[in-house]
Amino acid sequence: MTTASAAARPLVDRAAPIEPAAYVELLMNITRREVKGRYSQTLFGVGWAIAQPLATMAVFTLVFSRLANIVADVPYPVFAYAGLVPWFFFLNSVNSGTMSLVQYRNIVTKTYFPREIIPLAQVSSRAIDLAAAAALVALLMAYYGIGLTRWALLVPALLVLLVAFTVAVTLFTSAVNVFYRDVSPVVQIGLQLWLYVTPIAYPLSKVPLRWRGWIAANPLTGVIEGLRAAVVYGREPDWALLALSTVLTAIALAGSFALFKQLDRYFADVI
C-alpha cells in the first residue's frame, strides 16, 4: 500500500521539524485549552480581565493624582488605565508563563513537540484579556470626549513590540524556572517593582532628568509611552525612545530564544 517505503527516509539526529501550519495550529489549540481552563466555571469570565486594571486604576487615581499630585494633560483615569492595559498583559503573561512548562510537565515528559509553544500559548491566551481591557479604553475616551487621530494607526506595530518583549521575558523565565523553582517568587517580586520603574502611574516627562535614562532603558517604557501617545494624546510618539525599545527587545528576544533552545533538551530530565 505504501509506496513510500521504496525511497528510504534518511536517519537524522534531530526531531523532524513540524510544518509551519501545524505549529501555528498547535499554538492555537494550546491557547484555547488555556483560555477554556481559565474561564470555565467562573461567573464573571473574561470580565476579570477588565476588573484587574480597573481596580488598579482606581487606586492610582486616588494615590497619584490626589496625593502625589501628578498632573497629566488628559483626565488621570484615562491616562493611568491606558498604561495599565498593556502592563497587565505583560504581567499576567510573564506570571503564568513562568510556571507554564512545569504545569505542562505531563506533556513535556511524554511527547516531543517544540517546547516554546507552551510559554508562547500563555502569552497568546492573554490576547483575549488584552482585547477586552482595551475595549474599555475606547469607552473611557468616549466618556471624557477624547477622539482618535491618525497616530492610532501605529497601535498594531506597538502591540507587536509589546508581544515581542513579553515573549522574550516569558521564554527566559519559563526555561530557567524548570531548573530553579525560585524563579517564580523572584519574578513576582520583580514584577511588583517593575510596575514602578515603568511610566504607568506617571509620565516619563515627570521623571527627574538624571533617572530618565534608566527608565528609558526599560523596553516597556517605549511601548507604553508610545501607546499612550498614539491613542490617548493622539500625537507623534517619541521615535528615539521607540527605537531604543525596539533594539533592546530584539536583543532580548534573540537571546532568550537561543537560551530556551539550548536548555529545552534537559527539560524532561529535571522538570
Binding site: E19, A21, A22
Partner: protein
Amino acid sequence: MSSDAVAIRLDRVTKRYRAGRSRTIVDLVASAVDRARGAEPDVYSAARGRTSAAIVALRDVSFDVAEGSGLGIIGANGAGKTTLLKLISRVTWPTSGRVQVAGRVVSLIELGAGFHPELTGRENVYLGAGLFGLTRREVDRRFDDIVQFAEVERLIDMPMKRYSSGLYARLGFSVAIFSNPDIVLVDEVLAVGDASFRRRALESLRRLIAEGKTVLFISHDLWNVRRLCDRILWMDEGRVRASGPAGEIAEQYMEQVNLRALANQNTALESHRRGTGEIRYAAVEIVDRSGRATSSVREGGALTVRATYDASAPIHAPVFQIAIVDVDTGMTVATATSSRDDVPPVVDGRGALECIFDPLLLRRRQYTLRMTIADAQQLVSYDVVTAGPRFAVTAGAGGEPAEDEGFVALPFRFEHRARVLSS
C-alpha cells in the same frame, strides 16, 4: 514490504540522570568548589548540581531497528526500557552517544497525555494530533476513523472530564495511531481498556507493521510481545542483555525469571497463607520426570508437584487440592483428591503426596500453584497457599510460536477434505 532500511539507530548511547532533584545554593557552591579543583564537569551545563549523584539509566547501548519491523523490549522494572523510548522520541537527550531516527515518531508513553479535561473529545482530538505534528486539515481527514476506532461517537462533543479512564485511553490510542507515524513507540499502555479494545489495539499495531511502519513495544506480557514482534531486545540494568529472534530471547528471559523465582520459592510459601492450621503444607516442590527440582517444563512434558504436610491431630478424609493458575489471566485448572482413593481415610503427623501431570497439557505461559487442604465437605479450609511455586511452560522441540489464546493445550487435529459434496 520490509526492506533493509534502518528506522532507528542507537550508537553507544549512555544516559545519566541526576539522582537528587533539588539543588540549593549550598549544592551550587559545593559544585563550584569541585569544579575549581578540576573535578569532572556535570552533564547539565545549564544547571550544575553536585556531580557525584547520578543514576545511569542506559550504558553504552547500540542497536538498529529495521524499517517495517516490530521490536519488543523486555526487562525488569528500572532496566531502562522507558528511557530508550524517551530518547527515540526526543523527549530527552543522550548524555553521550547518538540517537538517529528516520521519519515521524509517535510515542505512546501515556495515553492521552496531552488531553485537557475541560475540552470536548473533538477539541482534544485536534489538540492531541497537533502535539504529534498534524495540521487541522490532516486531522479533518482522519477524524471519523479516530472516533470510530475509539468508539466514542456518542460522547465526542462532551468535555473529557465526563469520560471514563478507559474511554480516555481509547481516544488517546486512536489519535496516536491515526497520526500518520513512521515509527510508533508503545510503552505498556495496553494494560488499560477492556479485552476487546486491547485486541483491536494489538491488531492495529500489527497492521501498521504490515504497512511498513516500525513499532517498538514495551510490555511485561511476553505473550503479546511475541504476537506482535519478530525480534526482542532484552534490557537489564541499562544494558542490552540479549537481542535476537523473539522466540529465542523470550525463552532465555523466561529461564532467567524462573531461576530467580526458584530461589524465592521457599519464602514465597510463607506469605499469602490462610486456613485454620490443623494440617498444613510443610513444603512444596515442582520436579521433572527425573525428580529434579525445576521451574520450567517443556510443552507436552511431565510435571510433578511434590508436597509434604504436617498434621497436628488426626484429620478425617482431608481433601488436597492443587490448582494451576495462569499468572497473566488468573484462569485456573484444579485437581482434588476428594473423589479418589489417593489419600488414606485418616491422616496424622507428617506425610507426603505427589500430583503427577503426564503429559502436562498446558500452553507456553507462566503459572503458579494454589494449594489448599480442606475437610471432607470442603467447608473448613485447614490450609490455603494462594501463591505457591511458579513455573513456566516453555517451547517444545517444535519451537514455533503458539498463536492461540487460552492456556490449555487440548489434543486435537484438523482433517481437511479438498472437495465437500453438497447433499
